[in-house]
């Protein structure tokens, strides 16, 4: 590992709060999906969000980069609060530019990959750095090729997404997010749309990211990942945090009765 870098104020980066979410609430119609969720992710944290479908974990993740707008609550990325205001009785972001900038600092990996189908894999990966961050194209291409090498699909760089397997597409999508040099990576069930034999290759990439110290929030059903890779597990139930702790703690004695019942369904 590299020596811990210093930020401008001279304090070490380790332990810096990368993401802070306070008291998020969200309803769809009369159905309250999130009932006051708070969470802090420190530099290098790998947090697995578990829960039955409908427990609100994906909605929670989508609220963080404002793909869904929470009705209530505060979100800060790397110490910067996302500005919100009330308009017509609804909570809306008050500064679109800030939202776009903060989104560019948060990597998002979707269940269904969502690569841009009219671009090759390489074009997908350089799209953000070149057009959002406005960096030099040649430099971005060099970095993108290194990233594609790292996720193991360098030879597919001139192929279109439709010509790749699901596992390859998801690894390309991870490379696309990494190309933005994000402060936090959000994973929304990254392996749920994959055939079982392709899950491993994606999990391996995620594991190596975790080992490099990337701050990650992972909505997943992969118990082995939650248990062996993450340093913190949050179990959500009906829009609330039911249990929160280290994997050893939760998978050991600390988990609530509902958590034990939940992992029981996975044969774990």
């Amino acid at each position: 590992m590299n020596p811990t870098p210093l930020n401008q104020t001279g304090t070490t980066m380790a332990g810096t709060t990368r993401l802070s979410v306070r008291n998020i609430r969200k309803s769809f119609g009369t159905h309250e999906v999130l009932r006051g969720i708070s969470l802090e992710a420190r530099d290098g944290d790998v947090i697995s969000l578990l829960g039955a479908s409908g427990s609100g974990k994906s909605t929670f993740l989508r609220c963080i980069n404002l793909l869904e707008i929470a009705d209530h609550g505060e979100i800060s990325v790397d110490g910067e609060l996302i500005q919100m205001q009330q308009r017509g009785g609804k909570n809306v972001p008050s500064n679109r530019r800030q939202v776009d900038r903060i989104r560019s600092e948060l990597g998002m990996v979707f269940q269904s990959f969502n690569l841009w189908s009219h671009m090759t894999i390489l074009e997908n990966v350089i799209e953000g750095p070149v057009h959002v961050l406005k960096r030099a194209r040649a430099e971005c291409i060099a970095e993108a090729e290194a990233l594609l090498e790292k996720v193991g699909i360098a030879e597919k760089r001139h192929a279109y997404p439709a010509h790749l397997s699901g596992g390859q597409q998801q690894r390309a999508a991870i490379a696309r997010s990494l190309a933005m040099k994000p402060k936090v990576m959000l994973f929304d069930e990254p392996t749920s749309a994959l055939d079982p034999e392709l899950v491993g290759e994606v999990l391996r990439v995620m594991r190596s990211l975790a080992e490099e110290g990337m701050t990650m929030l992972v909505v997943t059903h992969e118990m082995s990942f939650a248990r062996n890779v993450s340093n913190r597990v949050i179990f959500m139930k009906s829009g609330e945090i039911d249990s929160d702790g280290t994997p050893d703690d939760l998978f050991g004695q600390g988990g609530s009765a509902s958590f034990r019942q939940f992992i029981g369904n996975f044969g774990g």
Binding site: I102, F110, W116, S117, T120, E127, A162, A173
Partner: protein, 235 residues
């Protein structure tokens, strides 16, 4: 008689075919502008805009083309005449028949293109738009990089179809006296009394135009679809 000599109609027919091509091309362009505006209105969140867009497509797809051409030509001409009268000219001033024809066919083509563009937009997977938002693209960047190129790709077959329709609609413009392929065939047929011959020749020229442009659209479609799963192995 259909030769290219001083007494032959060949040269005039070729010029007329070129005129038809020009009217249609300008009409397609006008239609593309109107069509994308109307498609945007129909997809917008505002009820008023949606109603306006819906009315446009209903009216201009539901009224005979010839009637629209008359409306634009005579409507436009009376507007021009009114302006002329106000400025001291007397008598009837006609709208240039090329402008009137291209505008009329463009308005009709716009109604069809709006539907093509709307369908193309709806064909873009929602997740790709979310990914664009999530990476921090603002609205104009999303449109330029993700929406625009994909709408274009999905729209090509439909636009090819509209082009074909417009090319044939442009024949109706001959009623305003524009020397397009239809009008010139008619004049040639009338003055030589070889009706059958010249209408057959005119028909063949239309067929050449349509089949030639069909080929162009097909190859454009193939090129744009190289990223689609069906093109596996064709690349």
């Amino acid at each position: 008689m259909i030769g290219f000599g001083p007494t032959g109609w060949g040269g005039l027919l070729l010029v007329a075919a070129l005129m038809t091509l020009c009217v249609t091309a300008v009409a397609l362009l006008i239609g593309a502008i109107l069509g994308s505006l109307v498609a945007w209105a129909k997809l917008s969140g505002s009820r008023i805009l949606r109603t306006i867009g819906g009315t446009y497509t209903t009216v201009f797809r539901g009224v005979p083309e010839l009637l629209i051409i008359y409306l634009v030509y005579f409507g436009g001409s009376s507007a021009v005449t009114a302006i002329g009268t106000a400025m001291g000219y007397e008598g009837f001033l006609g709208l240039p028949s090329f402008a009137a024809g291209a505008l009329a066919v463009g308005i009709i083509s716009g109604a069809y293109q709006a539907e093509v563009f709307r369908g193309a937009y709806l064909a873009i997977p929602k997740g790709e738009l979310e990914a664009a938002q999530a990476i921090g693209m603002n609205r104009s960047l999303r449109f330029r990089r993700i929406i625009g190129p994909q709408v274009f790709r999905f729209a090509i077959p439909g636009i090819g179809n509209v082009w074909q329709l417009s090319l044939k609609d442009s024949a109706l413009v001959s009623v305003t006296g524009l020397a397009d392929l239809m009008r010139t065939s008619q004049v040639a047929a009338g003055s030589t009394r070889q009706h059958f011959l010249f209408f057959i020749v005119g028909g063949c020229l239309y067929l050449i135009l349509t089949s030639f442009s069909d080929r162009i659209f097909t190859s454009a479609e193939k090129r744009a679809n190289r990223s689609m799963p069906t093109s596996l192995g064709q690349a």
